[in-house]
């Protein structure tokens, strides 16, 4: 018999919990009341015991994921015989103060990721959304919906005239109801299923399961393309000054800070400056609202042999060039040695990536959701340029930006890039 393990409610005012550790792996057996996983909410860590004895057959949410209360996070397979004697597993064993044995319906397909669960019933949701358009939503339903970031019109209603009752929304939440979608991504859009490719008989192929990181990258990229209206701009920047400043101060940084001065801190500084001047580029879109983000948390894409990760430099504008250098080098090093903690790859408000390291002129990157812009740094090379009617040899670089045209218009994006260019070309030496 399959038994669902749910995120327990650790207190009346607690709506979600973050899984910090699985103490059992898939395939391992667990005794009833034996600690199964650990969660963290606010200032409280808690150990969650297994609701019954059995084998852990599925983990739906990995460590680091935040899950609403009562959502199924794992599935146990109990022995048929044992099931009969095990008294109502879920309601008893988890340390729930008021166990609400809402049987979270088994989802149609195992969902890979918690943050964006697909609605369990896409089709009826669409119908309900239409029929209940403009219809009355009770305050209690609206409150619950707001708490969980759900658009109440996307909840299938069973009340009079398709009205959404309190129970409807509670059930919807319990099943991992999807937060209100952004306008360009209609809520009931079913998760894109990859078309099944058939290869001619005898074709030489090798099949390999995607790693969790690969899967995540794939999902994020597709999701971003579906969410944002990507537009691109490319600028050429004279990097001669920055390149010479870097070689001038490289030795000093080794000596004084014990760290290698790279070009990344220069880009971070220039980006922060421009983001302060053009705050819309540091925003996010939520429904029909633009959310201006006051902190400048800049993600830095780090290529890994096994994929890509984007650690975040928090409050980058508050760090000196030396501070940025140490922070960036530390994050990059720990990204490569897999020592980043989940928090260090979350909460970014803008991203910088460098498609130029292998000689590419420039790239047109995909926006890192829920951000609205990503800056791409091309490779630097010496090129002949005309300065005051003379031909000079200068360090030149193409710099590109992909931005979300839903909120950032071309004129703004170009002025933003012109700002970045100006800061780089006239880089203030006193900052070093």
């Amino acid at each position: 018999m399959r038994v669902d393990v749910v995120m327990p409610q650790m207190g009346e005012s607690i709506a979600e919990g973050t899984i910090t550790r699985w103490m059992k792996q898939i395939g391992e057996t667990v005794q009833r009341d034996e600690p199964l996983f650990e969660i963290s909410t606010d200032k409280v860590d808690a150990e969650i015991p297994s609701p019954s004895a059995g084998t852990l057959v599925e983990i739906k949410n990995q460590a680091g994921e935040t899950v609403p209360v009562n959502q199924v996070v794992a599935v146990l397979e109990t022995e048929a015989g044992a099931a009969a004697s095990a008294p109502a597993p879920k309601a008893e064993a988890t340390p729930e103060p008021k166990p609400e044995p809402k049987p979270a319906a088994p989802p149609p397909a195992p969902k890979a990721e918690a943050p964006k669960p697909t609605p369990p019933t896409p089709a009826p949701a669409a119908a309900a959304a239409e029929s209940s358009e403009g219809s009355f939503v009770s305050p209690v339903v609206r409150k619950i919906a707001a708490e969980h970031g759900i658009d109440p019109t996307t909840v299938p209603g069973t009340g009079a005239g398709g009205r959404v009752t309190k129970k409807d929304i509670q059930d919807f939440v319990a099943k991992g109801g999807r937060p209100a979608a952004t306008p360009s991504a209609p809520a009931p859009a079913p998760a894109p299923t990859a078309p099944t490719v058939t290869f001619p008989a005898g074709a030489r192929v090798e099949r390999q399961a995607m790693s969790p990181m690969r899967k995540k990258i794939a999902e994020h990229m597709i999701e971003s393309r579906r969410t944002s209206a990507h537009v691109h701009s490319v600028f050429e920047v004279d990097m001669t000054r920055v390149v010479s400043l870097r070689s001038k101060y490289k030795g000093l940084y080794e000596e004084r800070h014990g760290t290698k001065l790279t070009l990344t801190p220069f880009f971070l500084k220039a980006a922060c400056d421009a983001l302060r001047a053009w705050p819309i580029v540091n925003s996010s879109v939520e429904g029909n609202e633009i959310v201006y983000r006051k902190d400048l948390n800049i993600g830095i894409a780090v290529a890994l042999d096994w994929g890509l990760i984007v650690p975040v430099v928090r409050n980058a504008d508050q760090l000196s060039i030396a501070g940025l250098t140490m922070k960036v080098n530390d994050l990059a090093e720990r990204a490569r040695t897999k020592k980043l903690v989940p928090d260090e790859v979350q909460g970014g408000t803008f991203t910088i990536t460098n498609p130029g390291i292998f000689g590419g002129l420039f790239g047109l990157p995909i926006i890192n959701q829920p951000q609205v812009a990503i800056l791409g740094i091309g490779g630097i090379e010496k090129r002949p340029v005309v300065i005051d009617d003379a031909i000079a040899i200068r360090d030149r670089m193409y710099m590109s930006m992909s931005y979300d045209h839903r909120v950032v218009d071309g004129a703004v994006a170009d002025q933003f890039l012109a700002h970045v260019k100006k800061v780089l070309q006239e880089f203030d030496e006193s900052l070093l």
Partner: protein
């Protein structure tokens, strides 16, 4: 010792207990710790005689050291007290009452777990709830004047708030054991328990109070 006590409490072999002690200088990282809130690396901490530990409790980075009363309630929560937020609020209430009894007006800050007095954070809270709603970890109340250990961290990840102590707030010197006795009464009361003082534990800086 705390872990042994948790096991014993869970098995019903120990009563609800509040361990009260003073730590040597140590920085602990809770599960929610943000690396940037630790301002010195492990080596620089060691130079200052401060150890670094990861603790299985909620919360961010904190510092423990001499002149600070650390309390670990190992209590099996029952009935309506089986609510993680309720438990945090109960601990705060016990500590606010303790501060009041010692002449310091302290209170809560919306959304910031812990106890706050005039100049900043007076007591930090970070707890763990284990199987059977048995609690561990707990609180740390600053008593003495020396708060320099906090320079190594951003307390609980709050950049713009300082820390304070009973001595800083009143200008008086307190005997840690006397403070511990007051805290035992008030924390026990807030948890619906009665305090029984028991100083029989061998560990030199530990005091036990059970109910």
């Amino acid at each position: 010792m705390q872990e042994r006590l948790v096991e014993a409490r869970r098995a019903g072999e120990a009563p609800d207990t509040l361990l009260l002690l003073e730590h040597p200088p140590v920085v602990t990282l809770g599960r929610g710790a943000h690396a940037e809130n630790l301002l010195l690396d492990e080596e620089s901490l060691r130079e200052r005689g401060i150890e670094l530990h990861e603790a299985g409790r909620g919360g961010d980075v904190t510092y423990h050291g001499p002149g600070q009363l650390v309390g670990y309630p190992v209590v099996a929560l029952q009935g309506e007290r089986r609510d993680a937020h309720r438990y945090l609020r109960d601990l705060e209430e016990g500590l606010i009452a303790t501060a009041a009894a010692l002449g310091v007006r302290a209170g809560r800050e919306e959304g910031l777990t812990g106890v706050w007095a005039g100049r900043g954070k007076l007591a930090a809270i970070g707890v763990r709830i284990g199987t059977g709603w048995v609690t561990s970890h707990g609180f740390a109340m600053n008593v003495g004047d020396d708060l320099s250990g906090f320079d190594a961290i951003v307390p609980c990840g709050l950049r713009d708030r300082g820390v304070t102590s009973l001595t800083r707030e009143t200008g008086k010197t307190f005997d840690l054991e006397a403070v511990a006795r007051v805290a035992a009464e008030h924390v026990a009361a807030a948890l619906g328990l009665a305090a029984v003082w028991d100083a029989a534990i061998s560990s030199p800086s530990a005091r036990r109070e059970s109910a």
